[in-house]
Symmetry: C2
């Protein structure tokens, strides 16, 4: 149904929480542990743990072991894009099955199929959209996205 998974939901909540802790008050050394987030948002602890592990593996957050351990952002909230978050959890963004086909594995309808190109276009557009929105945008009352103009694309 073109929707993101619950895990991604959890990831967004967690990141939002971590970010707001690090940004909001003057507590630079403050790490957030899994339990704290899980209880705050009613997320199954073990599931959230896995989600956070994925995020950490993808370099979005840093993990600190041992007691008093926990997570903190690996980068500024402004550098973390929604696209990156989603892809960390769900794998490469693929609006349709045959967009990331491995070599040699084409769907049989390929040669008859003329929806492939347009779909890839759409996929790209969605990616642009998600890539232009960062964690920071989710934090403040910032006006958020506002689809990026095609002509000013790639300004970065």
């Amino acid at each position: 149904m073109l929707k993101i998974s619950k895990k991604t939901d959890y990831a967004l909540m967690a990141l939002q929480h971590i970010a707001s802790v690090q940004f909001g008050d003057v507590t630079p050394g403050r790490v957030v542990n899994t339990k704290e987030i899980a209880e705050e948002y009613n997320i199954p602890l073990e599931l959230l743990a896995k989600v956070l592990q994925s995020l950490s593996k993808n370099g979005l957050i840093e993990s600190h072991n041992g007691p008093k351990g926990g997570y903190l952002l690996a980068r500024s909230a402004r550098q973390i894009t929604i696209a990156h978050i989603i892809e960390s959890i769900e794998g490469p963004l693929a609006i349709t099955d045959c967009s990331h086909e491995k070599e040699g594995e084409f769907c049989m309808q390929r040669e008859h199929c003329n929806i492939r190109t347009p779909l890839l276009k759409i996929q790209d557009s969605i990616y642009q959209l998600l890539n232009n929105m960062t964690l920071a945008d989710m934090l403040g009352g910032t006006p958020l996205i506002t689809i990026q103009s095609a002509s000013t694309q790639g300004v970065e």
Copy 2:
């Protein structure tokens, strides 16, 4: 994984086919039947039938019963948006579960949740995107979408 279902894929192929037969303008003589499309694109006949039924129920195509029956576009290809097609098959576009919650059924994390608003923004943006692209765009070699500029939003 933020992807559209195969049924929707089939719907797009079928519509693309029907449209290309009619070539954008309604030519009342030529109807296309399910079997023809199914065989052309290697789609399970019964499944495609259901997909076409959904499309017909949603007013995108007209069905004609009896022998020599089949389907034809109910509207010009330029009037059929991708968003409409997708929603006909998959129901209302909902990037996240709680975007279309029924009254009285809020997820428990709602009051703590600050990702809701941004997600709805994203959802809306994606909708705009899909709503600005029509079947006609998928047909020709038209430059397609080209994300709509934020500043010129709502010009239609």
